[in-house]
């Protein structure tokens, strides 16, 4: 059933397009480096990112600390390694959550239409109207800031875009011939929704999911920057927020973790753009 089983199906073609896109490859490389550093990092640096290893505000490229230490004497490089783990974990899981909610609700609304659509769209509107960051701040503060609540909060406030996109895609497909044919041979709604329409609607959704990872990472960084993240888990945003008052005397504790966020999100966006070009050939000229 799946198009990818055929030797030169659209998916294989998309893969080839993607592999020939220099900026997409650059994004993949950057992301690989980030993943490698965060995964293999613990064997390269100290075991505890909160540990004080040298004099406070040791500048970068010194003997004690390659990237310097922060205002308490904590190693910035160790922060990068361990902070990346929290940030990437929250970003990936929150994006997965937001995309799952968005695809489910959007698919149901677009496929069934009518009253289901009206109710689900009201719900979507409701979440669009809530100020996302503020609402997530409230949720996280009120229900103790742990990785779990942060992930849930980000997922809950950020699914509306995906839902609208999915809805539009499902509306487009629901009355096409191949879907009607499935219905005529007595396929269940569940089968038509998830096995017939979803694979066809997937390309734009994959792109949107990739971009969702980037936004979730930025969202997490923003929350921890504001000091609303998990205070017991080192993260990039936490380090920047903590060093905020000392930014003029110790710029490296702000610049490096921020650069790490930037590089990671940039990598994800480049991959997203590459996927967009590969999967949505109609838009290629742009």
């Amino acid at each position: 059933m799946n198009a990818s089983d055929q030797p030169e199906g659209p998916w294989a073609e998309a893969l080839r397009m993607f592999a020939r896109n220099p900026s997409a490859i650059a994004g993949m490389l950057m992301l690989s480096v980030v993943l490698l550093v965060t995964l293999a990092g613990p064997w390269l640096v100290g075991a505890d990112p909160f540990e004080i290893i040298a004099a406070p505000m040791t500048p970068p490229f010194s003997d004690e600390a390659i990237l310097g230490t922060d205002y308490l004497g904590r190693d910035v490089l160790t922060t990068l390694v361990y902070g990346g783990r929290a940030t990437l974990l929250v970003g990936a899981v929150a994006a997965l959550l937001s995309v799952s909610i968005g695809i489910t609700l959007g698919a149901l609304a677009g496929y069934y239409g009518g009253r289901v659509d009206a109710v689900l769209m009201r719900v979507t509107e409701f979440f669009q109207v809530l100020p996302a960051l503020l609402f997530a701040m409230v949720v996280v503060t009120l229900f103790s800031p742990t990785l779990l609540t942060i992930t849930l909060a980000i997922g809950i406030v950020s699914w509306t875009g995906t839902a609208r996109l999915t809805r539009a895609e499902f509306m487009k497909y629901r009355n096409l011939e191949f879907v009607r044919a499935e219905r005529a041979i007595g396929a269940s709604h569940a089968r038509i929704l998830w096995r017939v329409i979803l694979p066809n609607a997937l390309p734009p959704l994959i792109v949107s999911a990739t971009l969702a990872i980037g936004s979730a990472i930025l969202f997490e960084a923003g929350l921890s920057f504001l000091g609303l993240g998990d205070q017991n888990r080192m993260s990039w945003g936490l380090m920047i927020g903590a060093s905020r008052q000392y930014v003029l005397s110790c710029w490296w504790a702000v610049a490096f973790p921020g650069a790490a966020i930037f590089v990671t999100v940039l990598a994800v966006s480049l991959i997203g753009d590459g996927l967009n070009d590969a999967l949505n050939p109609k838009l290629r000229e742009r």
Binding site: L130, L133, L134, L218, L248, G258, V265
Partner: protein, 322 residues
Amino acid sequence: MLKLVASRLVQGLALVLAVVVLNFVLVHAAPGDPVETIAGASGGMDEKLQAELRAQYGLDRPLPVQLGIYLGKVARGDLGYSYFFNLPVSSLIGERVPATLALVLTSVLAAFLTGTTLGVLSSRRPNGALSQTINVLSLVGFSAPVFWLGMLLVILLASVFPVFPVSGMRNIASDGRGVADVIDVLYHLVLPAFTLGLVYLAQYSRLSRAAMLDVLGADYIRTARAKGLSERKVFYKHALRNAVLPVVTILGLQFGNVLAGAIVVETVFNWPGLGRLAYESVLRRDYPTILGVLLFSSVVVIVMNQLTDLCYRLIDPRIKTT
């Protein structure tokens, strides 16, 4: 048209009601209460005083009763008293709105004007240098955390070119009056507005460029060219008008997000606006203020959405009133 406005109004009110109820239930369902926080902040408080405070704030009543009382008050425009400032929430919000409005309007308008200009100019040469610059700019704008960009600017401007003030809205010695004060505030506004504007600049330039390229490929442009109109006229009169539509829509719809961005930027630059009030109230568990700000910003988003929608219908008559 009138019927449309009326039904939109009802929908908007229903949304506001839903926002108020959900936020209220959420805030009160959370473990711990503001009295504990106040007690903690004042270094311990005996049980009796805590109970008295709870009674005073109405926190000892059943939740549905509290909700009913709150809804009744909100309907009358009373958002309650801030636990922390002991001032009416509505006047607290009113005090902070001008600062945020100045920040958000300046950055959004500047970003909109520069962004569309760049986007439109670059669409004349889709693969030219300006187009590439916009690609890079929009990638950076999307990928770099706002607070990081802001702090890099602080580092750069405070140590290398100490030109603009990096914190606050007024000079400490300012008396807050007259033309001198306006200049002082504008001077302090430069960096925060620039930071917030960068992100939107990236989006607007990219969006308007895509919209222009889209429109320039349309049949009616070919027609306009075929009938011998000057390239200038085709470009600025026929194409630009249509390409600006989606950008205007996004401008309106994003107003809510701009408020969210304002929280972070106001924190970085100590800008005394609504975003910082919200942030500090969350830290203080100042429930009435949190609820008030959430309600206020939701109402702003709803109003902006509806206005955008109505404007869009006015600009583009093809969209039928349904």
